[in-house]
């Protein structure tokens, strides 16, 4: 029997190769941490139902390949995602430097309303740290991203990262900033809500939200 949920969100996990995107996903959906994980080719899916403020919400997570040579294909999956985790590795300066590029792709290709959370992964490897918490926070602030440091190995902050992002999306739905019924929003009503067939309260829209408005 399929579990019921009120909302379904499409989530992306993006960032450079080897930063631990698949490890984060696997930790989140309850799989064991693996030291020798294969790099991702294409997309790996995961899903989980989480409870956010009393609302059961299902996340459909698309973990994409980070390797540069797959970049052109993975870009095509950005469209219509409600949220994204943008991952770098705190032990790799390169992965941090690449963030601007990833962000530019996400901002141009995904929907303008996408909620992005910056994740500094491999927090457990403090001795090899190359990127400080402060500079990453600053990057996050400058680019209007939320920010957390995580460890897919110990599980620290992993669930929080997904939850925090989901909460923000939900809050945007409640304030009307996001319309779940707008196609391409990356949000669907779930089995729990489809039966009620009710339109949500009319979102208060700003003119810039209106696609007709030019």
């Amino acid at each position: 029997m399929s579990e019921s949920y009120e909302y379904l969100f499409k989530f992306l996990v993006i960032g450079s190769a080897g930063t631990g995107k698949s490890s984060l996903l696997n930790n989140f959906i309850g799989n064991k941490f693996k030291e020798d994980r294969c790099h991702t080719i294409g997309v790996e899916f995961g899903s989980k139902i989480v409870n956010i403020g009393g609302k059961s919400t299902k996340l459909q997570i698309w973990d994409t390949a980070g390797q540069e040579r797959f970049r052109s294909v993975t870009r095509s999956y950005y469209r219509g995602a409600a949220g994204a985790l943008l991952v770098y590795d705190i032990t790799s300066r390169d992965s941090f430097n690449a963030l601007a590029n990833w962000l530019r792709d996400a901002r141009t290709l995904a929907s303008p309303n996408i909620v992005i959370l910056l994740v500094g992964n491999k927090k457990d490897m403090e001795e090899a740290r190359e990127v400080t918490f402060t500079e990453a926070s600053q990057f996050a602030q400058e680019n209007e991203l939320m920010f957390l440091e995580t460890s897919a190995k110990t599980g620290e902050n992993v669930e929080e990262a997904f939850l925090k992002c989901s909460k923000t999306i939900l809050a945007k739905i409640e304030t009307g900033e996001l319309d779940p019924e707008r196609i391409g929003s990356g949000i669907q009503y779930g089995t729990g809500t489809s039966k009620r067939l009710a339109a949500p309260k009319k979102p208060a829209r700003t003119p810039s939200d209106c696609a007709c408005h030019v």
Binding site: M1, S2, E6, L8, K10, D36, C38, H39, I41, G42, V43, E44, F45, S47, Q60, A65, R69, F70, S72, V73, T74, S76, Y77, Y78, R79, G80, D179, E181, R182, I183, G184, G186, Q188, Y189, T191, G192, T193, S194, K195, R196, L197, A198, A199, P200, K201, K202, R205, C210, A211, C212, H213, V214
Partner: protein
């Protein structure tokens, strides 16, 4: 041991053997998700399985050159007051086709056909494969409608008028103008046409200014003023090129995010059925399909297709810079995930396929891009079978109704202010295929309930007229936004109302005014299925959800 097999593969030290089975936990009798009988028939071309186009994703090239959904694009351009760009494009297009028609009736057909293809190539890779007869039946005739333009020229800053010219445009786009072409063959002179277009759009003092660079204008002038007096069909090509890039740069993205584009997609959805490719290469519907596959416990099939697609594309596109060791590592990653006896995501390929893949991966020169093609085809065919059930699923109808909702939601926020007769926010009644949605009282009541307690008389659901009456008593004003974006009340006298059920009329709004009865019937059936689906859902006891697998 697994480590060894991996490093052996990575280190180019010949071919690794199959990984020894460490754990006996992996059951060899994993339920296979696929049916290997689903291989190709002899004469089937497997190439199409790797194509990346979806009917649902329209490019500017599809629209301008293939004339797909062009009426919606014209409407969009009208709505933002930039219709002159598309009108000019279409007039030039028409001129080209007309010229071509004359040339071919003068037995110069081949020459001009080649020319036409070339000019299309300038814009994009998709070359129209239509032969000239096809092209001719969909040509657009603007020439004999100069009054359309004079009327617009006087009033083109008034929104109302641009809307009515929009109606004209749309009619012309779909009308077959073979009469005109015959006339023109008789007259055998299209220099006049060229000059007309030139005066209208290209000349310095032209009433319709296109923001053309001078060099552009000059090259058109020299194209038209040939010493031998012979004007070629592509004399306006420089103008078309500019128009194409202007539209692409400044307007196309907004069009894609507009309700006009969604309407075009709804037309596509209701005019025939989708195949797997249409779904795989359109992210929006793929979001729903992915969820569907998860419910059917076979999302791994989709993951496999995507993985192989990436593997293949990567090798084919970067063939020169490919490192065979890297290709092999990629292939092994796929192998370990889906094929190996300890596969993390087993699909249940039979032993013979697994063995073939093993030896293909272990080629001395590295695996070929095509080394997973055979299992790919099997999985593709399997998933294609799931598409059939998907198209009848709750999720698909949810997708469809959200498409519809998006159109009307955007309309109602952007247009209802200007139409004071629209007393309800729910101004398009297509919404009401979802019954209670348009019922404000119901909506309020339901919002806070997680378990629905809908009590709708099922007779009501199938008796459309009763439904509308039910809604009306709640004070809902039913109406629609017509193809021009103007709100029309359902309760206004409507001459063509007789003989059609209300719901059926609603359905006809999904389809372009001029589409055939067949398409309308299809849209009707889909809307009917939505209603039926909603009924099933709401009538069923809460726990009675389908649970396949």
């Amino acid at each position: 041991m697994i480590k060894f097999w991996k490093s052996a593969a990575k280190g180019k030290t010949g071919c690794p053997v199959r990984p020894p089975e460490l754990k006996s936990t992996s059951t060899p009798d994993i339920k296979s998700l696929i049916n290997t009988q689903l291989l190709l028939e002899e004469n089937e071309d497997p190439k199409h399985m790797f194509d990346k186009n979806s009917k649902l994703t329209l490019s500017l090239c599809d629209i301008l050159n293939e004339k797909k959904a062009i009426k919606y694009f014209v409407q969009y351009m009208e709505s933002i007051g930039k219709e002159v760009l598309i009108k000019c494009w279409l007039e030039i297009e028409d001129f080209k086709i007309q010229t071509q028609y004359q040339d071919s009736s003068n037995e110069n057909g081949n020459y001009s056909k080649i020319n036409r293809t070339k000019s299309l190539d300038l814009h994009c890779k998709c070359v129209s494969k239509k032969d000239y007869k096809d092209v001719n039946t969909q040509r657009f005739s603007w020439q004999d409608n100069s009054e359309l333009f004079t009327s617009t020229s006087n009033t083109r800053h008034k929104n109302e008028c641009s809307m009515s010219s929009c109606r004209n445009l749309s009619e012309h786009l779909t009308s077959n103008s073979s009469n005109t072409s015959k006339e023109n063959v008789k007259t055998g002179n299209y220099t006049e046409e060229a000059i007309k277009i030139f005066k209208k759009y290209v000349a310095l003092e032209a009433p319709f200014q296109l923001d053309l660079p001078d060099s552009n204008r000059k090259s058109v002038i020299s194209n038209i003023c040939q010493p031998e007096g012979k004007i070629t069909e592509d004399c306006f090509q420089p103008v078309q090129d500019i128009l194409f890039s202007q539209i692409e740069k400044n307007y196309f993205n907004d069009f894609v995010n507009s309700p006009f584009y969604i309407k075009a997609q709804i037309d596509i959805l209701t005019s025939g059925s989708l195949n797997l490719k249409d779904i795989l290469h359109n992210e929006t519907i793929l979001f729903y399909f992915t969820e569907f596959l998860e419910q059917e416990s076979c999302r791994v099939l989709l993951e496999f297709l995507m993985g192989v697609m990436h593997f293949r594309d990567n090798l084919l596109n970067n063939s020169s810079s490919q490192d065979p060791a890297q290709a092999q590592a990629d292939a092994i990653a796929i192998y370990e995930k889906y094929f190996s006896l300890q596969a993390t995501h087993p699909i249940g390929f039979p032993t013979d396929i697994r063995l073939t893949i093993e030896s293909d991966i272990c080629r001395e020169e590295g695996p070929l891009p095509t080394c997973f093609d055979m299992p790919y085809r099997i999985v593709f065919k399997t998933l294609a079978l799931y598409v059939k059930t998907f198209l009848e699923s709750e999720l698909y109808f949810k997708y469809l109704s959200e498409m519809i909702h998006s159109v009307e939601n955007i309309w109602s926020t952007s247009h209802h202010k200007s139409h004071s007769d629209c007393s309800s926010e729910f101004s398009i009644s297509t919404q009401n295929t979802l019954l209670a949605m348009g019922d404000p009282v119901f909506r309020k009541k339901k919002r806070n309930l997680s378990v629905p307690d809908m009590t709708i008389d099922s007779n009501q659901l199938y008796n459309a007229d009763a439904l509308w009456q039910r809604n009306r008593s709640d004070g809902l004003s039913l109406g629609r936004v017509n193809s021009l974006g103007r709100f029309e009340s359902k309760f206004e006298p409507d001459p063509d109302k007789k003989g059609k059920s209300v719901l059926k009329k609603m359905v006809s709004r999904f389809v372009p005014t001029s589409t055939s009865k067949v398409e309308e019937e299809m849209a009707w059936q889909i809307a009917h299925m939505i209603v039926k689906d909603v009924t099933d859902l709401t009538m069923a006891p809460p726990d009675n959800e389908h649970e396949d697998m």
